[in-house]
């Protein structure tokens, strides 16, 4: 069985309810209709673009194209992490740490899955590598962005407490320990919630897609299980690593709190 293809006319029909919503918003002067319109347009353009690019990459399967596509995902993911920060480190440290965290955790977990679990030949086959990396990277990105933001925001707010602890002779690692723990917890909350409710409250998109395209539900479920576990590990290790590096960056060699390295 093959999936029933949607025509461009169907897409037009799909956007109608959203257009109606934008109209209602405009009538009630809720001031969101513009945002909705822009969001809808972006979805269209971005997905259409990705569709064409993926079609090209799949037809000309070559490791270079897979790597190129991954690098673009890594760059946009890091950029998005940086964009979500209220306070960034000066001299590009925020985006640098985001690249490092996303790359180390996201890519390791993806390659592990491709080689050890899926076992597709060759392992960089774009049909497998790109969607897997996309899902893992997307969730790792959310974790890293949340963790970094929580740490830097709290350090800024709790400057007096941290410095009082330093003045009492606590090492920097002890003075920031609670803040680090809170940041890891915040970073992990979305994925922990997803692990708890997946399949009951929400049917994950990938599984839904596989079922729609005619896969055996049990096969689809096994794929989804793998994805959930990998996402958890990726987001967890990624945020753990970046939070630790950020915490180090908040202090200098003499264990002084260096909030001057952060900007608005």
């Amino acid at each position: 069985m093959n999936v029933i293809a949607l025509s461009w006319t169907d897409i037009l029909l799909a956007v109608l309810p959203l257009a109606a919503l934008a109209l209602v918003f405009a009538r009630q002067r809720l001031g969101m209709s513009r945002t909705i319109a822009i969001g809808a347009a972006r979805t269209f353009v971005q997905l259409a673009l990705v569709g064409f690019v993926l079609k090209g990459v799949f037809q000309n399967a070559h490791p270079v194209w897979t790597v190129c596509f991954s690098m673009v995902m890594l760059a946009t993911g890091s950029w998005e992490v940086s964009r979500r920060q209220h306070r960034r480190f000066a001299a590009g440290w925020t985006i640098g740490l985001a690249v490092l965290g996303l790359f180390t955790a996201g890519f390791t977990v993806t390659v592990y899955a491709l080689v050890a679990l899926v076992g597709v030949e060759p392992w960089w086959t774009p049909q497998y590598a790109i969607p897997l990396l996309g899902m893992i990277l997307g969730n790792t990105m959310t974790g890293i962005a949340l963790g970094m933001d929580t740490l830097t925001q709290n350090a800024w707010k709790q400057r007096a407490v941290i410095e009082n602890r330093l003045a009492l002779g606590e090492p920097a690692s002890a003075a920031i320990a609670e803040l680090k723990r809170d940041s890891v917890r915040t970073a992990m909350t979305p994925i922990i919630n997803a692990l708890a409710v997946c399949g009951v409250v929400s049917l994950p998109g990938m599984m839904t897609g596989q079922i729609l395209s005619g896969s055996d539900p049990l096969a689809a479920v096994r794929y989804q299980m793998m994805i959930m576990y990998l996402i958890g590990a990726g987001a967890g290790f990624g945020s753990l690593l970046t939070i630790q590096l950020c915490a180090n960056r908040l202090f200098d060699g003499r264990e002084r709190l260096r909030l001057d390295r952060l900007s608005e």
Binding site: R165, R254, R256
Partner: protein, 201 residues
């Protein structure tokens, strides 16, 4: 070589500051707001960047970990911070009942939630918390701002007791000239911009 030697210390656009203090000595420091008194104490505790020379018994801060230095050269900030729920959680070793009594603190205060403390009680408990590290130099920043006259005298007596008994050296920043006359063995004045001069008693 004395207990604390400071030569040509510059920090955040202030200084140069030079002085030395022996065991048991109390240096009073006064001056207008914004002249860099707090920043001086922070530099001495190696909490801000500085240039020049700071020596404790002939040793520079760089000879040890910063946390180790700060246990010996202890900075007591003007506003103390409390981050655990109960008072007692902030103390590694509980202060003696006698110390609590002298400072007019409730004997059960360590079991209290921090939210119950008045600003005066916080100030006195912060002193005990810092003294628990048994520092050799104590850096005080307006330490009695929230205390009434009676408590203020008790607070001063505790520090003077440590200077007598444990040969603690103190650098005491205050606006009140009467207090400095009571506690200091020597006085310094800081003018705007951190210009440092010995003051007559």
């Amino acid at each position: 070589m004395s207990r604390l030697d400071v030569q040509n210390l510059r920090y955040g656009g202030f200084g140069p500051v030079s002085f030395s203090a022996g065991p048991g000595e109390r240096l009073g420091v006064t001056g207008p707001s914004g002249c860099g008194k707090t920043r001086l104490l922070r530099a001495l505790a190696d909490m801000d960047e500085w240039q020049g020379e700071i020596l404790l018994e002939g040793q520079a801060p760089g000879a040890m970990r910063a946390s180790q230095w700060r246990r010996q050269v202890a900075y007591l900030p003007a506003e103390s911070q409390w981050w655990f729920d109960t008072v007692g959680a902030h103390f590694g070793t509980s202060p003696e009942a006698e110390a609590l009594r002298v400072l007019g603190l409730d004997p059960e205060v360590l079991a209290w939630p921090v939210a119950r403390l008045s600003s005066g009680e916080k100030q006195r408990l912060a002193l005990l918390r810092t003294l628990a590290n048994r520092p050799s130099v104590l850096l005080l920043d307006e330490p009695t701002a929230h205390l009434d006259a009676e408590r203020e005298r008790a607070f001063e007596a505790v520090i003077l007791g440590c200077c007598e008994k444990d040969r603690l050296t103190a650098v005491w920043v205050a606006h009140d000239p009467d207090q400095l006359r009571r506690v200091a063995t020597r006085g310094y004045r800081m003018a705007a911009g951190g210009v440092w001069q010995e003051a007559s008693a």
